[in-house]
């Protein structure tokens, strides 16, 4: 597969704060690539650098083989950017916003009008076409923001949290249209903190935390990074002391776990068989269990496994 976006040792400082730390990443043509991470992880900064809206502090970024710092205009001609916060003039109607965006991106005539009609119909925006943007709800504004890029059909389509504030039906409509855009040949890059969105939509995912890519791969590959097949979540009645944790490890003999507050997560094989044994051993050393759950790993578990934090 051909590389659409090549990021090498990318760093970005805002004053003394380092938002990105030597990020290296390849995104391939024709894939839906997800940047998954919590707020402030560096997702939007990465995307804004790709779109040449902000400049990198160091490192190289190429979009379709074009350097973002040397030829930013050429890069922008290949890119469409759907912002996290919808962007439109207060006094414009929905149709004004979409028509102007299409025109400035080089579309015109029947092609533009047909794209607008189709996307508005698919996103349920048709009945709001004459309504002023500033009078729309948050979810509708977000749909308009996404619609701009779906109408534009750029070679590289960037969506920053495309379904934030959008209802479930709207989410599915947006996901379907993004998949269609990919099938028509666009490369899609999505930033999200919604693991369900990442899992449902993305061909490959990079998990980003504190400006660093922690792990990347297909969703299934990421889940396979968690050693052992099952996740056993145990909620205790109280927090454990360090000494009690040490005692528990010694007694149970499982060192692959994470403890945060009153929650302990064990990464184990044959979870159902192991659960009663673990419960009994914990009881024997006086650790009271409130609730237990065995589950398949999710992307949130992957994130937790690598960072010790949850996305939720």
């Amino acid at each position: 597969m051909k590389v659409a976006v090549e990021i090498n040792n990318l760093s970005k400082y805002y004053g003394s704060f380092q938002a990105l730390k030597s990020l290296t990443l390849n995104i391939y043509e024709g894939e839906i690539f997800g940047l998954l991470g919590p707020n402030g992880a560096g997702k939007t900064t990465t995307l804004l650098i790709l779109a040449t809206v902000i400049k990198p502090s160091s490192g190289n970024v190429k979009v379709m083989g074009i350097d973002v710092t040397k030829e930013p205009l050429k890069v922008r001609k290949n890119i469409g950017f759907s912002f996290q916060e919808p962007k439109a003039l207060r006094v414009d109607t929905v149709l004004d916003v979409l028509r102007w965006h299409g025109k400035i991106c080089g579309l015109r005539g029947i092609e533009l009008e047909e794209n607008i009609r189709r996307i508005m119909a698919n996103l349920g925006l048709a009945k709001y076409s004459g309504k002023m943007f500033m009078h729309l709800s948050g979810g509708l504004k977000k749909k308009v923001e996404v619609a701009k890029i779906l109408i534009q059909k750029p070679k590289i389509a960037i969506f920053d949290e495309p379904t934030a504030q959008v209802d479930v039906i709207g989410k599915h409509a947006i996901w379907n249209l993004i998949r269609e855009l990919r099938d028509e040949g666009s490369t899609i890059i999505i930033a999200t903190n919604d693991m369900n969105e990442a899992e449902m939509l993305c061909d490959r995912i990079a998990i980003i935390h504190n400006g660093v890519i922690i792990v990347e791969g297909k969703p299934e590959e990421l889940k396979d990074k968690i050693p052992s097949g099952d996740i056993l979540e145990i909620e205790l009645e109280r927090n454990l002391t360090r000494k009690e944790i040490g005692l528990m490890v010694e007694k149970i003999g499982i060192s692959n776990f994470k403890a945060t507050g009153r929650n302990i997560i064990f990464y184990i094989n044959r979870g159902e068989e192991m659960l009663p044994i673990i419960m009994e051993k914990m009881n024997s050393i006086g650790i009271k269990i409130k609730r237990t759950m065995i589950k398949e790993p999710t992307l949130d578990d992957v994130f937790f496994y690598f960072t010790g934090r949850t996305l939720r």
């Binding site: 809206v53 950017f81 400035i104």
Partner: protein
């Protein structure tokens, strides 16, 4: 060129949609002409002060609309629109030139009814004068929009920009020949007024509308000064935009 026209047409349609701003600015100007102008010209008795004042009022109107158009960039920074423009397939130079020209076009279009009224009241209505005045209005307004855009891009902080904007407007209007000729100014006010671009445009328009003897700065100085300011403003805004600006 197509992109520049698209940005200008969008700004123009935005101005038309902002009817409240349009109507209020016209009402304010009409009050200046028919209430304040009439009364003050009875107090100040030097030769035909009312006509002298009318030209000043026209310049004030153009000045405010041009500043408002330039200020629009700051407003767009506040609304996060600058990021959006910077992500579009247009060069930053094109964007900033378009915004400056927008300021010129909006001010010129907006000022036409008041210009017609002023020419009628001054008994100076002629198609040639209208063309000359509108051309100069466009060049001056473009410069003023550019200056405000430079301030907006450099400072970005809305509060600080508001303060600078307020001081700049007061300085440029009060230390100019908009309201009074340099002949009545103390010498330490006279010199700033003579280099003030607002004085240059006002006196140039007075020369066209009222003729000889109505101006403090001769047209052969005022006209090149206005042209120079326009070119400098466009050049500086483009350089600043291309080199410095980031979307956030």
């Amino acid at each position: 060129m197509r992109n520049i026209l698209l940005i200008i047409s969008r700004d123009l349609s935005k101005l038309i949609k902002e009817k409240f701003f349009l109507v209020m600015r016209y009402i304010s100007t009409l009050i200046q002409i028919f209430v304040y102008g009439v009364i003050i010209s009875k107090i100040i008795t030097f030769k035909n002060f009312y006509n002298y004042y009318l030209v000043g009022i026209y310049v004030i109107l153009v000045f405010y609309v041009a500043l408002n158009a330039g200020y629009d960039v700051l407003d767009e920074i506040r609304m996060g629109m600058l990021e959006y423009y910077l992500s579009l397939p247009i060069s930053r130079g094109e964007y900033i030139v378009a915004k400056s020209i927008s300021g010129g076009v909006l001010s010129t279009v907006y000022s036409i009814p008041i210009l017609a009224l002023i020419l009628l009241l001054s008994n100076a209505f002629s198609p040639l004068k209208i063309i000359e005045i509108l051309t100069l209005t466009f060049i001056f307004a473009l410069s003023m929009s550019g200056i405000i855009i430079i301030i907006s891009l450099q400072i970005k902080s809305p509060n600080i920009s508001d303060i600078i904007y307020g001081v700049l407007v007061t300085l440029l209007l009060k230390l100019s020949t908009v309201y009074y000729p340099t002949a009545v100014m103390p010498s330490f006010y006279k010199y700033p007024a003579l280099i003030n671009p607002v004085s240059h445009i006002t006196d140039l328009l007075r020369y066209i509308i009222l003729g000889e003897g109505s101006y403090s700065i001769p047209p052969e100085i005022a006209f090149p000064a206005i042209l120079f300011l326009a070119m400098a403003s466009i050049t500086f805004t483009t350089i600043i935009m291309e080199r410095k600006v980031e979307g956030r």
